[in-house]
Structures are given as structure tokens and as C-alpha cells.
Symmetry: C2
Subunit: 216 residues, 2 copies
């Protein structure tokens, strides 16, 4: 019997982080490809023994019979390649999917995070209010570009839903509750399409159930 | 005769951006694997015809006989896989290299960019000075984690120099001139080792020569 793949995440996070922790990404990928998995809860991600495994003290980390890795982007890519799903089978289609996964992580997520950091972690700083239009302009520029891309498309490429879409929808989910996506209807519809996939619904429910159990 | 791969970049950038534009990353990878290439200069990265090719209006974009892609991380990965170099030949080693490439882009570069944005693009904002210690704390946390990782290692993994190191050194090069790396001697030595590689020296010289020619 082969052991199931395992991911790490937190067993408790503050209210504002629920629905946003990055274990959602491998959970979603696992559900899409129909792979059962186990979850290990990390008590202290900053502890030296966990950092042997995840140098930045973050979640998720991943392990299976063959390897241990971290970074949600790498984990999602590995889950897809291991299953032979969520990524086209030809080299060109594969690179396009990887390109969009990296675009989500490096061209879009930094702007989402700057907005969130200003609104949450720097909320008590004297500049947070004045800086808000500036960080909003960073993310709106990216959303405008994605709006152009998505106006005539269901997913980012013609090949159908890939890990590039999974990651882009997940990254844009970081804006949930801000109302920013309302001004970008094609992007908003794209995110809604992604989040309505049964695999996403199941992953989100499992993610939230951890905190509900912790509170009970 | 097969056409050479091509990348796009800018023919002119302001002084502060020289040595930092991301065409450096594919240039470095091409030199490492011994692949000749062509460079196309983009006059207006925001123009609709270029955005058909690069939706975010950024450089570099890449094309060869088989595909067009963008995102420096995806381009570097493709150059390595196409050459069968800079990335281990086994699936585990390959995923570890990809993991570090993505860690550079998603866990380290956002903090480097927040620091740079505050110091450069938000320098004339009233909060820039007061916010500087805050953005410094973000990048110092990551550098502390890398210091632990690199204290006993030459490169990030035992397999030797990979695209993970190429990207991490390139991302950390964004702190050049700030003095921040002086407090992280293992990281500073690692960046110096990477930047001393002949392929990096050649790539940087070719990158800088573009602006010298433009000024002449």
C-alpha cells in the first residue's frame, strides 16, 4: 500500500485569514485530479524542526513517497504532473500553463498582497489610508490587463482549465470581500467560474471545516 | 537552418533600472547553456500589438520555433529544459529546482520589490521615510531564513547550480547598492558566487552595453 501524499497547514488562523491560507491551492488541485491526501497541522511554523522542511516557516509544505517540496506553486505543479491532469500533455501547452501559474504568482499576487498588507497588517500605521489609492492602482493595472485577456475567453488558454487558471483564480480570491473585482466584470466572472468548480467548493469546505472544528 | 530563440527587452531605461531589468534572467540562462539568441527592443510595451504577446506589457517575452511565452521564471525554466542543463535530469531534482525558482519569485521577490517600490517609486510620498523600517523588516525576515539555509551550502541544493539559484541570485541582485546584504554574510557570499559566474558576467555586460550604445 502506497502512503497518501501529505500537506502541512495551520489548525487555527485568525478570522481574517480563513478562506485565504495557501493550503487551499494543493487542496483544490488534489480534488481536481481525484487524489486523496492527508493534512498535518503545524503548531509552530517558525520552529527549527519545521524550518528544516520549509525554510521560510510558511504553509503549505508537501511530501509523498518520492519527494518533499514547498511553495504552493511548485506543489500544485507537482500534483498536476504526478496525476497527468490539469496540464496539457504536449510541451507547448505545458509551458503555457506554467507561464500562467508563474504570472499569477509573480505578476499578480505581489499587487494583491501589497493591497492586503496595507489594508490589514499596516492598517494601524499613519500612512495606511493615504497609501490605499496607490496600492489600489497597482492591482487595478494588472486587473485591467487580465480584463482584456479574459473578455473573449473562458480560461486563460484555449486548452481549457489548467494549473495556470487554478493559481490565477486562487490569487485573485485574495481580493474577495474588497469589491475591487466588481469593476472588472470579465475577471469577476472568471473567478466565479473557477470558484464554482466542485473541486474548489470541496477544497474550501474542507479548509473552513478545520477552523469550525477548532472553535467547537 | 533553425532560427535562434528571441527575447524582448527595452532599448533604453532610466539609470536606476540599468542592471535590474529582467531580460538579465534569460540572458544569463542562455549564456549558462551556451545558446545563442537574438534580442528585439520594444518601443512601447503598453501598445496593444505587444500586449497580444505579453498581456501585462512587461519584458522579457520569448519566442522560438515552437512557442511564445512570457514571465522570466517560465522563460528561464524553458531555456533550461530545452537545453537539458541547469536543471537535474531526475524528476525529484527537477521539482526541487522549480521549487526554489518559485520561492525566489513568490516568497523573496515580493519583499525585494516592496523595498524598492518604497525607496524609488514612492520616494516622494510623505510616508516613504517612516515606512522604510517596515519594508526593511519584510525583506530581512526572508534574508534571515536564507542565511540559515546557505550557511552550510554552496548552492540551495546539493545538486549544484540550477535555475533555482539563477533566479534567487537574480532576485537578490535587486538589493544591489542598498547595503542590506552586508548583514547576511552567507547570502552575500552566495550572491557574489552567482554573479561571478562567467555566464552572469557576460549577460550583465551585454545588458549594460545596450544602454551605453543608446547613450553614445
Amino acid at each position: 500500500m502506497t502512503a497518501l501524499p501529505r500537506i502541512t497547514t495551520f489548525g487555527w488562523v485568525p478570522e481574517f485569514a480563513r478562506g485565504f491560507v495557501r493550503d487551499l491551492r494543493p487542496r483544490w488541485a488534489f480534488e481536481e485530479v481525484g487524489q486523496a491526501y492527508e493534512v498535518d497541522f503545524v503548531r509552530d511554523a517558525k520552529a527549527p524542526d519545521y524550518r528544516q522542511y520549509q525554510p521560510f516557516g510558511q504553509v503549505p509544505a508537501y511530501q509523498d513517497d518520492q519527494l518533499e517540496i514547498f511553495e504552493s506553486g511548485a506543489i500544485v505543479l507537482h500534483i498536476a504532473k504526478r496525476a497527468g491532469q490539469l496540464i496539457p500533455n504536449d510541451p507547448v501547452g505545458e509551458m503555457k500553463a506554467v507561464q500562467w501559474l508563474i504570472a499569477a504568482l509573480n505578476s499578480v499576487e505581489p499587487a494583491v498582497m501589497e493591497y492586503a498588507m496595507n489594508a490589514i497588517f499596516e492598517a494601524d500605521r499613519p500612512w495606511s489610508g493615504d497609501r490605499q489609492p496607490v496600492v489600489l492602482s497597482y492591482i487595478e493595472r494588472r486587473l485591467g490587463d487580465l480584463e482584456t485577456r479574459l473578455t473573449s475567453r473562458v480560461w486563460l488558454e484555449e486548452d481549457g482549465f489548467t494549473i495556470g487558471d487554478l493559481m490565477m483564480v486562487s490569487v485573485l480570491g485574495g481580493l474577495r470581500g474588497t469589491g475591487i473585482l466588481d469593476r472588472f466584470p470579465a475577471v469577476a466572472a472568471y473567478v466565479a467560474r473557477g470558484e464554482a468548480r466542485p473541486a474548489h467548493v470541496k477544497a474550501m469546505a474542507d479548509h473552513m471545516a478545520v477552523f469550525e472544528q477548532a472553535a467547537a
